[in-house]
């Protein structure tokens, strides 16, 4: 019998994922439980579980999607905890990071501990061998992206292709995999799996570009971290790369700030951001982001007729207007 899988069902499934995550992170060890649940309760958009649920919804699979969607969020959580060590971030979503509270070693082991739970859940799903291969490769690529980011800090010679390599691994692959894995547990055809993967990938590329735009556009209160923090740490995002590719008066000053690693402090970072904005870096980056959303829409159109397909398109529009 055909089941309507609409907005309220979507919300219900997301609530189930949240409850599942609460239970999954309710570890026996009180300290691990505290930090794991604090990380969960810090919020987040739950974009990855949403993508998994949408995919499974279109494929009429309501049975086993909640654990997988939760596992995708756990993998994301682990990557954030480890990223905060790599980036030496003091805050995340407006709260002190684990490494800021307890140190790098403590944080790395909390992340590893949570990852064991994610793998345990995945191992219990249908097609677990393939799922683990997908997750392992995903995680491998995410690490390579981070390694590349480390190698290229304050490198002003980066191209759009270099940037794409990094954000592909930093964000897009996990979103692509959230769709792909959901399609795999739903026993989709290879063609369908591929389409879902591409939808997630394009949404992910857009998501990260807009994140990078917001990093320069928003104040720190909305971001939950200092504005322009990527640039301050030498991470060349698309607005900066695009502006540096052009010739304009004042470019040498911007290059100097970056190459000297902002020795003048936050004032120099803010001056650099102003220059990037004045040179149209944010608008030009937004054009790239829009290109990925349009590509996502092309693939969404290839999905079978289903009420959930509309929710995918709503998601595209949400990303298009995202303000935080």
């Amino acid at each position: 019998m055909f089941k309507m899988f609409e907005v309220h069902t979507m919300k219900k499934k997301l609530a189930e994922v949240e409850a599942y995550l609460e239970q999954a992170l309710d570890f026996e060890h009180p300290v691990i439980r505290q930090y794991a649940l604090d990380t969960l309760h810090a919020g987040g958009k739950r974009v990855r579980p949403t993508l998994s649920i949408l995919t499974a919804g279109i494929l009429e699979n309501e049975d086993n999607i909640v654990p997988l969607a939760a596992a995708m969020e756990l993998i994301h959580m682990c990557s954030l905890i480890h990223d905060d060590i790599v980036d030496q971030a003091d805050t995340r979503r407006g709260r002190p990071t684990i490494q800021a509270q307890q140190g790098n070693q403590f944080a790395v082991h909390i992340g590893d501990y949570i990852l064991t739970k994610a793998l345990e859940i995945i191992q219990q799903q249908p097609n677990s061998q393939r799922l683990l291969q997908i997750m392992g490769n995903l995680s491998l690529e995410m690490c390579l992206g981070e390694v590349e980011q480390l190698r290229t800090v304050f490198d002003v010679g980066q191209t759009v292709e270099d940037y794409n390599y990094r954000i592909d691994r930093k964000t897009a692959l996990l979103m692509a995999t959230s769709c792909q894995a959901a399609a795999v547990v739903s026993n989709a055809s290879e063609k369908e799996i591929d389409i879902f993967y591409k939808i997630g990938y394009n949404l992910g590329m857009d998501f990260q570009i807009r994140d990078d735009i917001l990093d320069m556009e928003q104040d720190s209160r909305k971001l939950g971290k200092p504005a322009g923090s990527d640039l301050a740490h030498g991470i060349m995002t698309l607005p900066t790369i695009l502006v540096l590719q052009k010739d304009w008066a004042g470019k040498e000053e911007l290059l100097g700030f970056i190459q000297n690693r902002f020795t003048g402090g936050q004032a120099e970072v803010e001056r650099a951001i102003s220059m990037i904005i004045e040179q149209g870096g944010l608008q030009e980056a937004a054009v790239y982001a829009e290109g990925y959303l349009k590509q996502a829409e092309v693939y969404i159109d290839q999905l079978p007729e289903h009420p959930m397909r509309k929710l995918f398109l709503d998601g595209v529009n949400y990303l298009r207007g995202r303000a935080y």
Partner: protein, 203 residues
């Protein structure tokens, strides 16, 4: 004995040689310990050389990942020195990922819970140590723990009963006592050096 060479390609991901990314000094010679242990246990349990080789590699990767995360630095003063702190986090994750991929490719997903149990115990103990500012987890602790888990995996592959499991656990402990100190003292400075030392071990 050619199985020992398996770790070398496993430590190269695409064009990136994992060893070359690490700036900290490690006693790389120990990394052939688990391959040797798995081969030894495999002979006792009468499992295939292929299975023993695969178990050895899986244990090597998870051990290496644990050890690298164990030694993540706590502080760096200069931004330029940050990679010494950051790379080990990423390389540990990279090896962890490599472990998951191989586990799947070898068709050994069923043994994942045994390895996860190792990771839970190791990480939990380490977190407790950091909280209490004590030092009960050291290299010996997690090598012995993983040796026992490696024995459990080999026993599962052999389909052995409780007696077989006990035999392998004891064999793993004895092997550790006999071989660990010998391997731990060996230094390897690069991937090429590791390969050379492994070849020397084979000869």
């Amino acid at each position: 004995m050619i199985f020992l060479l398996n770790l070398v390609p496993a430590l190269r991901v695409k064009d990136v040689a994992i060893f070359d990314l690490l700036e900290q000094e490690f006693h790389y010679g120990e990394f052939i310990f688990f391959s040797q242990l798995a081969a030894h246990l495999g002979r006792i349990a009468n499992i295939s050389a292929k299975d023993a080789k695969e178990v050895g590699l899986l244990s090597e990767l998870i051990y290496l990942s644990s050890k690298i995360h164990f030694f993540v630095a706590e502080k760096t003063d200069e931004r330029t020195q940050c990679s010494a702190l950051q790379m080990p986090v990423l390389i540990g994750d990279l090896l962890y990922s490599r472990f998951v991929v191989f586990l799947s490719e070898f068709g050994k997903v069923a043994y994942l819970p045994i390895y996860l149990e190792y990771l839970r115990q190791f990480n939990q103990q380490r977190i407790e140590d950091l909280q209490k500012q004590q030092d009960t987890v050291h290299t010996e602790y997690f090598v012995r723990l993983l040796s026992q888990k490696t024995a459990a995996v080999v026993a599962s592959i052999a389909g052995g009963n409780g007696e077989m499991q006990n035999t392998l656990q004891t064999a793993a402990e004895n092997f550790w006592q006999e071989q660990w100190a010998l391997l731990y003292g060996k230094r390897v400075t690069s991937l090429a050096d590791l390969e050379e030392q492994m070849l020397a071990a084979v000869i």
